[in-house]
């Protein structure tokens, strides 16, 4: 049997589909409430929100669970965004969006955002359990 004809599991495909689907669910469940509360109600002064004051925000961001939560939210979200934007480009008539370099750029971009997120979370307000 020729090696090329052997059926193989598309592990890479499975991985990206997993990241895309989970990113889709996570952003669907969590994005609107963050945007509504932190982006609209807080700035307008309708309700008190943690990020309106340094003390309360620093307190929350220092919590390791919050850091982990933000990493999961942003990490999955950007894999989802990378996938969607790549297909959006392809649907706009840019066939290059389906090429390997485009995949490297888009998913690589998501990885860069994740690394930057880790760096920001680790260097902003040290982890405290208080």
């Amino acid at each position: 049997m020729n090696a090329e004809h052997r059926p193989r599991t598309a592990i890479d495909h499975l991985f990206f589909w997993f990241m895309f689907a989970n990113g889709g669910v996570i952003t669907a469940l969590l994005m609107p409430v963050h945007v509504l509360v932190q982006g609209i109600l807080g700035p307008l002064g309708v309700v008190p929100v943690v990020d309106q004051h340094y003390d309360t925000y620093a307190n929350v961001i220092g919590n390791p669970l919050v850091k982990l939560y933000l990493l999961v939210l942003i990490g999955f979200a950007f894999f989802h965004f990378a996938h969607r934007l790549r297909y959006l480009l392809a649907d706009f008539g840019v066939p290059a969006a389906k090429s390997l370099p485009a995949q490297v750029i888009f998913y690589g971009g998501a990885v860069v955002v994740i690394l930057v997120t880790i760096w920001i979370l680790l260097t902003t307000i040290p982890i405290s359990f208080g």
Partner: protein, 118 residues
């Protein structure tokens, strides 16, 4: 295919709109990271978000975000196949559960964001 193929039918337009929701949501999360890193300037350097421009931006992002939530959670009923005791769970039930999870998650996050502001 002409570049404007997606403007000819409402269905195509909504499909493209669904894919586009990723862009405003990505921008908002990048803003969130920027805001968090602003804490590094300390109690006197940190400026909380209060500008009207930012609120307007968030309103636009919220609309796209809600459209993504609605379409993606509805889709979950189509792509998720769950069997319990050899019987297929109706997609109606799955969609209802997903929307329930959305309500619960939103309530929990809103509670944390507001409760710890005191």
């Amino acid at each position: 295919m002409p570049l404007n193929w997606w403007t000819r039918q409402r269905h195509y337009f909504l499909y493209m709109l669904r894919e586009f929701t990723a862009l405003p949501m990505a921008l908002w999360l990048i803003w969130l990271l920027y805001e968090i890193s602003g804490l590094r300037s300390g109690a006197h350097g940190y400026t909380p978000p209060r500008s009207g421009l930012f609120v307007a931006f968030s309103v636009v992002v919220l609309l796209f975000s809600l459209y993504h939530s609605y379409t993606f959670l509805k889709l979950a009923g189509v792509i998720m196949r769950i069997k319990v005791l050899d019987r297929q769970i109706p997609s109606r039930v799955i969609v209802f559960t997903m929307f329930g999870a959305w309500a619960v998650a939103s309530a929990v996050i809103a509670f944390v964001l507001i409760w710890f502001a005191r």
